[in-house]
Amino acid sequence: MSTIDLGMPADGPIADAISASVTAQGEKQTALKAKDFKTDQEVRWCPGCGDYVILNAVQSFLPSLGIAREDMVIVSGIGCSSRFPYYMNTYGMHSIHGRAPAIATGLAASRPDLSVWVVTGDGDALSIGGNHLIHALRRNVNMTILLFNNRIYGLTKGQYSPTSEVGKVTKSTPMGSLDHPFNPVSLALGADATFVGRAMDSDRKGLTDVLRQAAEHQGTALVEIYQNCNIFNDGAFDLLKDPATGPQWTIPLEHGKPLVFGPEGASCVVRDEFGGLRIAETSQVDATEIVVHDATREDPSYAFALSRLSSQDLRYTPMGVFRAVQKPTYEAMMAEQLHAAGTGSPADLDALLAGGDTWTVQG
């Protein structure tokens, strides 16, 4: 974690509690293994759920971040994915539906020394909690949001979600859903998120790679993870997972690399006449026309255009990091204001209580 002055109280009960525990345990333990992040709680997702794969991937890569378990907090909302904190030997809160980003904002803003994570799902983050998500993103609070998108409500047993495709037949939409789905990456970029990535639950390497970049990002990082719900929406991402069709429809995003994809690199991304992007056949365009991926562009329009290449049936889905730009974090700016206020006028409670105008009654 950062060693800059984060505006934490240097003394008082919080500092005392932390230093007392560190003294009792010796140094902070940061040389950890995946098993150190497991808890004694039985994991209760359905057998075959994509959540298991994500949990394993997270537990496996966390040690490489060098963060002590006690300095990590995972906040979740409600839904299958939101059981995640119970299985992680860190601090955690399994909160209420949709509110995890708001709870995490209060925690991160008052404790900049912590590594704060939010685990949420498509219903939790985009329906009931949509407001909190976009506001956390625009504020750039330092937290990593893992959005497990299975395009269905699983815990309530199979209603369509805000990412379900139009026409989806579910228990609540016997004649097909009417709602146009959100594209979570487009939504996040619309909120000017400083880090937006997308990964597939079954792609351990790709997932770990995006997660690591997200964790190292200073500011709000949103990672959309396509996650298979084998009970209520099985095979939702097979188009991309199937070796026979996946390469054709997946656009891997690698910073600094031309956006060429598909079998034998047959497809590529070029600019269109309206300033957006379109898919072209590599053989039909000049190599210089092919867009070279740049995740660090200040203007989010390019990343947004990338996110619009995919349709709701998942054809031409970019996977990887869409955007990673540096902006001051909310808590760093807040700490700066606190610091500046403290330098200007030292805190004197008696003076504060007296205010400007007082009068004295003599005894």
Binding site: P13, Q25, R69, S95, A102, S110, R111
Partner: protein, 652 residues
């Protein structure tokens, strides 16, 4: 005020004013002034300045601002009328006064909206410039009340306030429209002369307020002085009034509003607990001033977060509390409705949290700028499941400070959300406040006690292993090594805090949460009963901002030779342990409330006593006279002898 209005008293002692005019000074023990004008006339500012002058002079005082929810309703219309009532006295007073002795009406709408409240013979000052045919027509006056004789029952002084302000500002370089805006300062100057108020504070205030616009500062000061000098020289006002300072306990005083006091109480609570204060709030009338005030105090480590909505405000506060801060959220009734689920999460996770509800008229959007006490049952029960939490209420503007500290004590000691019920009247009303010494405030560090060591038999941490005395669970904050744990909204297993759907465990945990809140009663002082004669058979019980009117009413009853006891609840949940026994001593218990009987319902249910519920929801505080009549009726019904009239005519 006696039946004869002292403002009409013939001058006895004369003094010579500049210009050779003989002016007299009459001494009064108390005055109630109401300033009324258009929303754009600056009546609230004028009232606040007059209040500051009065406070620094040393009178006891109580104020009642009353303004529309619209920022600028159409000019000159009845919905646009804004008023400010100030009661000040040479003795200890408890209310802003039932009715004004003096009404200042800046236009016909202000006259029409307020005249009915001015008792016959009262002093009425109007801005005659504003009584134009157009303004009269706007509020349905067919003829000018200044000319048609309809104001004969009052002592009416029509003063061309607007044109005299313009005259005073000739050469100021300001346009007519801008210059006209200073008429409130002209009026303030006139009143300052009339009541011998010190003027330096207002001049300093204007200089400070308009330091970037010196020409505006100069114009306002010029208008203020012109108003003062007009009073001194005009024949329209032959008398000025003196209200001596009120005897107060020795000490340093300031004027303070309820929202200010609450904000300072929160800062003090954080300081006295050694914890950073975190406020998550969404703007809402009449609570926003607490957010404004706290946002100024970053030097005290106060973090204020203006959230995207009410839910995010409380959610962020819960997150901050989880991290070891003193988490606070402030709102009004509709906001509490939105926060209910999150407050339930704080009940389940047993984290300290302060929830401030500055109540206003409801339901729904209701009356945003008017006061009411109708959120009591919402605070008590407005959550799904059995979700008990402590509820406390301040009784006066200054008391909001102490209530905030007490709420923090309970929240920290018992690891629970606490709801503090203020209201619009307390929030905006002001009174003199004895400034406490910081180091004499309650020390809350003992209530914090973060857990730093495992408490289980085999070195594990049990987040729901309770303190046997308080039943509070340990508060282990992230960053503390070896104490990692998970909490959440699902039912917890006793001691371990793991998810549990076990029926016996849920029954146990539900009862434990209730027992923890009930147990707070053991930490409360005995109930104070105010019964100076000691032989009362009728008691009046109230909570929150009705303290002043009830107290004033009880004083009237006692002056008329009868006994009555007054009890006022700071703690609504749990109630003090001795309350049932105390109430049982009285033949009748009266409970006045600005709702339809919510505390009465609780008292009946809890103590099986037949409470006499007296209620009103007019968006304004009770009048002491009205309450005195109610108390008198009840006393008459128990003892039979009718009471004599109050010889003082309703002094406090």
């Amino acid at each position: 005020m006696t039946a004869t209005n002292p403002h009409l008293t013939d001058p006895e002692a004369g003094s010579s004013a500049p210009g050779g005019l003989v002016k007299s000074v009459v001494e009064l023990d108390r005055v109630v002034i109401r300033l009324a004008g258009d929303s754009g006339d600056g009546m609230q500012l004028t009232g606040n300045r007059f209040t500051s002058e009065t406070a620094s002079f040393g009178n006891d005082l109580s104020t009642l601002p009353n303004f529309p929810a619209e920022i600028r309703a159409p000019t000159g219309t009845l919905p646009g009328v804004s008023s400010f009532q100030l009661h000040f006295a040479d003795h200890d007073i408890m209310t802003p006064g039932d009715a004004p002795d003096v009404l200042v009406a800046m236009n016909p709408a202000a006259l029409k909206a307020n005249l009915a409240d001015l008792p016959g013979g009262g002093l009425l000052i109007v801005d005659s410039d504003e009584f134009t045919p157009r303004n009269l027509a706007k509020v349905g006056y067919a003829t000018s009340p200044l000319e048609d004789g309809s104001l004969e029952g009052w002592q009416t002084v029509a003063v061309p306030l607007t044109s005299m302000t313009l005259d005073a500002l000739t050469g100021s370089g300001l346009g007519k429209k801008e210059a006209e805006r200073s008429k409130n300062m002209f009026t303030l100057g006139l009143l300052s002369w009339m009541y011998h108020r010190p003027t330096e504070g207002t001049i300093r205030f204007l200089e400070r307020q308009f330091r970037r616009k010196p020409e505006i500062a100069a114009a306002n000061i010029a208008a203020f002085r012109a108003g003062y000098n007009y009073g001194e020289t005009t024949e329209a006002f032959a008398v000025s009034y003196e209200i001596k300072p009120a005897p107060m306990a020795p000490g340093r005083y300031r004027n303070i509003s309820g929202n200010q006091a609450l904000a300072l109480g929160l800062v003090a609570a954080g300081q006295r607990a050694g914890l950073p204060l975190f406020l998550g709030a969404y703007p809402i009338t009449p609570a926003s001033d607490i957010l404004h005030e706290l946002s100024k105090h970053k030097a005290f480590g106060v973090r204020t977060f203006q959230a995207e909505d009410e839910i995010a405000g409380v959610a962020a506060a819960i997150g901050a509390s989880f991290g070891g801060a003193l988490g606070v959220t402030t709102t009004s009734g509709p906001g509490i409705s939105l926060k209910s689920e999150a407050i339930g999460l704080a009940v389940m996770t047993e984290l300290p949290l302060l929830v401030v509800d500055v109540q206003r008229g409801g339901p729904s959007t209701g009356l945003p700028t008017k006061t009411e006490q109708s959120d009591l049952l919402q605070a008590m029960f407005g959550r799904n499941g059995e979700a008990p939490l402590p509820v406390i209420a301040p009784r006066s503007p200054g008391d909001c400070f102490d209530a905030a500290l007490e709420a923090a004590r309970i929240a920290l000691t018992y690891r629970t959300p606490v709801i503090l019920l203020s209201d619009g009247y307390l929030a905006n009303g002001a009174e003199p406040w004895a400034v406490p010494a910081a180091d004499a405030l309650p020390d809350l560090t003992g209530a914090v006690g973060f857990a730093t060591e495992p408490n289980g038999a085999d070195g594990e941490f049990l987040p729901y292993l309770r303190d046997p005395e308080t039943l509070a669970r340990p508060w282990a904050i992230p960053g503390t090594a070896g104490m990692q744990h998970r909490i959440g909204g699902l039912e917890k297993a006793d001691k371990t805090g793991n998810i549990s759907y076990d029926p016996a465990n849920h029954d146990l945990m539900t009862r434990l949460r209730q027992a923890k809140v009930d147990g707070i009663a053991a930490s409360l002082p005995p109930t104070e009963v105010d019964d100076p004669d000691g032989d009362a058979t009728v008691a009046v019980i109230g909570w929150g901002s009705t303290y002043g009117p009830i107290g004033a009413a009880c004083r009237r009853i006692r002056r008329s030779g009868r006994s009555v006891a007054q009890l006022h609840l700071r703690h609504l949940n749990p109630m003090p342990a001795d309350l049932g026994d105390i109430l049982a001593r009285y033949e009748r218990v009266i409970c006045p409330e600005m709702n339809l009987g919510q505390l009465a319902l609780l008292l009946r249910a809890k103590f099986l006593i037949d409470v006499v519920s007296h209620t009103q929801v007019r968006g304004l505080p009770f009048r002491a006279a009205e309450l005195a009549a109610v108390i008198q009726d009840v006393i008459d019904s128990t003892s039979g002898t009718p009471l004599a009239a109050d010889p003082t005519g309703g002094a406090e």
